[in-house]
Amino acid sequence: MSEPFEPKIIAFVCTYCTYAGADLAGTSRLKYAPNVRIIRLPCTGRISPMFILKALQKGADGVLISGCHPGDCHFTHGNYHARRRWMVFRALLDFIGIPPERVKYSWISAAEGVKFAEFINSVTNDIRKLGPFEQYSQLIEQTQAPASL
């Protein structure tokens, strides 16, 4: 690769569907772009918009959220809450000047290893096209102080 821009993407996924789907992609030895870092949560309902903002502030060029398909949530409703929250949050992103295209939302089940790999590749390509996210670059200095106890 001749110095193309490689985006850094943070994924928030639920442990029951998408995390298991990502594991399946691994056990199936599918290959996908190494740009995504996964943070495992019990349910997409646990994903606070603050996590997304923090990720973008911390230097992520894109964020993706994925959980169980509607109706399949292990906790019955969590993904519906997440979806509703996302619909509202998307408008807010736009309002504060963050292109909503930098935040992707998907449903990937534990059986969809192939879909997971394809989704990671397509998101990586999309974010790569959008270029680095520099909105918060001046803030990163302040937040990068080692967060150790």
């Binding site: 298991a20 990502a22 594991d23 290959k31 809450h81 929250r85």
Partner: protein
């Protein structure tokens, strides 16, 4: 100061080939707060685990990160190892550098870089992990079974025979459910009553089973192992302790023309009645809506007849409060309203009946004593047309799903009819014959080959009356020709649907249901008898249409689940539950709306004089399943989820 141990596993070549573990160990060794950073071929092996334990003891580690395979694989292994070394198991986390790194990437440098990020992020999380203790909840060893059909009876008997107490609640005056209404059962053609009634008696006489008939569930509170249930015992107006079941009152009751629910309105009953002759308990009830005394204030013939003084017109409903540890829901099904199909003339022509009505006609204890007689004039029908899928597999008018039992019972009906009316002719309109099951296909073949049922593949468009006959117009799609049959009786294989109040009832007990009102299992394949609520199990057709063998099998499965639950004094649960900071809680109840488990209650904070100064949310750790949806809802940041706290997740993000 944090002292984290990082253990990087090569997993043989699985990680080692794509991630430079030495470089990774060195990089993590320099990370603030990391005391030990080592690599090894197989940390999950016995010597590997021993080395982790030794490192914990030697360095007094305050947290452990194992960079290896998925936590779904070995989280439990390493947490156990930590516990053995004296470290709280919840201070151990797994960084997944195999399934989500080495196995899916080809470039070693990029994979190593990603592995560093993943591991670092996990180190930052572990620094903020808290010591957690498994939650222990006591178990009340008594089960509640709701529904006294074959599934409920089977579940109750299995649990009771294992020596545990059971309360069996049935809302009708007698046990039996739909199975008691059937004439014969497929694929053996044995009499339903003959196999059902002994089980009903066994359940009623079992010393471990408390039977509450003519009773309904009012409310369910609590959580697994600790439910409190209120049951309304509807007034029978007959004292269950005094009544001997002699039946004199029934014989003498002057209100005799009431349509019998048990006979699907093909027969009549009195106002004081038992649903059928073999009712268990054999104690009548007074149907208040049709009783002459309740309507006009005069009559009381039953009370005068009764020699035991058992009739009491002032009897109120009573309530029973129960403490139970597990609940089996076996509330069954109903048949769909046939009048949805106006073109088939159900309700308009008395000789168009549904499958359940045919069961009553064929039953030896039915309104015709087992003689097949058409309802309009009592004549023996010479030609009978059966219409399958009258409601099932029909998204436009009926239901989308297959009702599963209709192919089999229609074949059975054709056989019963052929055995009773020897020169009769049957025609069966079908879409497909679905006869999967032990002995099922042989059975439906027998209907065709021995009992000469004429199967016509196609749908019926219209049924109308002409010259005393029911004209059935349909199509034979195999011949590609329209068909018209002059029939004496038409039987619709009606769809099986959820009970009319199934959704309401699901809300009462706090379980999920699908678009049709059938109750949702926790996992369709791997947890088919558990509901999404811990401690509540599902048996029989309340979950989906089922035949008798499946219902019985599922009922026994719920019994084994209940007994497993009762095998312990205390339940241990993962401590991943939400907790609320009552000081900052503003009482907005956003969390209450968010919680899918009704785990959050409103709690009064009182001062010394007992005055309520504040109302806050209180999360019941027994009910909480740890999804964390309430945490995100909380406007005042008062709720947090153990194991996935705000601090931990922000630290993970910061570590990337």
């Amino acid at each position: 100061m944090a002292k984290i141990g990082v253990f990087i596993c090569h997993c043989g070549e699985n990680v080692g080939a794509k991630v430079d573990c030495t470089k990774l160990a060195a990089a993590l060794g320099d990370h603030p707060g990391v005391a030990v950073s080592v690599e090894y071929k197989y940390f999950c092996s016995d010597p590997g685990q021993e080395s982790v334990k030794k490192a914990i003891r030697d360095n007094n580690l305050t947290g452990v990160v194992v960079a290896a395979c998925s936590p779904r694989m070995h989280e439990a292994t390493f947490r156990k190892a930590c516990a053995e070394a004296g470290l709280n198991p919840y201070l151990c986390e797994i960084a997944n550098i195999r399934e989500q790194c080495s196995w899916v990437h080809t470039d070693k440098d990029l994979a190593t870089e990603k592995a560093m990020d993943i591991t670092r992020s996990m180190v930052e999380k572990v620094k903020r992990n808290n010591k957690l203790q498994p939650i222990e909840v006591p178990v009340t060893r008594r089960a509640l079974v709701i529904g006294g059909g074959i599934a409920g009876i089977q579940a109750a008997l299995d649990i009771a025979n294992a020596g545990q107490d059971v309360v069996l609640v049935e809302r009708e005056p007698s046990l039996g459910g739909h199975m008691a209404q059937l004439s014969e059962t497929f694929p053996t053609l044995d009499c339903s009553q003959c196999i059902m009634t002994p089980r009903m008696v066994e359940a009623a006489q079992h010393p471990k089973i408390r039977l509450l008939t003519y009773s309904e569930i009012e409310s369910v509170d609590g959580y697994i192992g600790n439910f409190t249930v209120r049951v309304r015992m509807k007034s029978r107006y007959v004292d269950i302790d005094k009544c001997t079941g002699c039946g004199d009152c029934i014989t003498k009751c002057p209100a005799k023309k009431i349509s019998s629910e048990f006979d699907c309105s093909l027969g009549k009953r009195t106002a004081i009645y038992t649903p059928f002759a073999q009712s268990v308990p054999n104690i009548p009830v007074i149907d208040k809506a049709n009783c002459i005394y309740f309507k006009n204030g005069k009559c009381k013939i039953c009370a005068k007849t009764c020699q035991c003084d058992a009739i009491n017109f002032d009897m109120p409903d009573t309530f029973v409060d129960l403490e139970v540890g597990a609940i089996v829901v076996a509330t069954g099904f109903q048949v769909q309203n046939n009048s949805l199909y106006g073109e088939y003339g159900y309700g308009k022509y008395p000789d168009v009946i549904n499958g359940l009505q045919f069961e009553r006609l064929a039953s030896a204890s039915g309104p015709t004593a087992g003689k097949i007689m058409r309802p309009s004039d009592g004549a023996e029908p010479q030609t009978v047309v059966f219409i399958q899928c009258a409601g099932s597999r029909d998204p436009s008018k009926g239901v989308r799903y297959c009702s599963k039992i209709c192919c089999m019972y229609t074949a059975k009906h054709a056989m019963l009819y052929a055995h009773k009316v020897h020169d009769g002719k049957t025609h069966i309109f079908y879409m497909d014959i679905r006869a999967a099951g032990k002995g099922y296909d042989e059975f439906s073949r027998r209907a065709i080959e021995e009992d000469e049922a004429a199967y016509i593949r196609g749908r019926v468009s219209k049924v109308w009356q002409e010259n005393g006959k029911l004209m059935v117009r349909g199509v034979d799609t195999l011949l590609g020709k329209p068909v018209e049959i002059a029939a004496d009786m038409v039987v619709l294989a009606t769809a099986i649907v959820a009970q009319p109040d199934a959704k309401e009832f699901a809300k009462t007990i706090g379980i999920g249901y699908d678009e049709y009102g059938f109750y949702n299992e926790a996992h369709l394949k791997l947890r088919p008898v558990e509901s999404s609520t811990a401690g509540v199990f599902l048996a029989g057709a309340c979950q989906s249409p089922k035949d008798i063998p499946d219902s019985v099998a599922q009922a026994s499965a719920t019994a084994s689940k209940v007994l497993a639950l009762f095998s312990k004094d205390k339940l241990e649960r993962e401590p991943v539950v939400a907790t609320n900071n009552e000081v900052t809680c503003a009482g907005c109840w956003g969390c209450v709306l968010a919680c899918p488990y009704n785990a959050i209650e409103k709690k009064d904070i009182v001062d010394r004089s007992g005055r309520v100064i504040k109302r806050v949310a209180s999360i019941n750790p027994g009910l909480c399943q740890g999804c964390g949806t309430c945490v995100t809802f909380c406007r005042s940041n008062s709720i947090d989820l153990a194991g996935f706290t705000e601090k931990q997740i922000f630290a993970e993000v910061m570590g990337l």
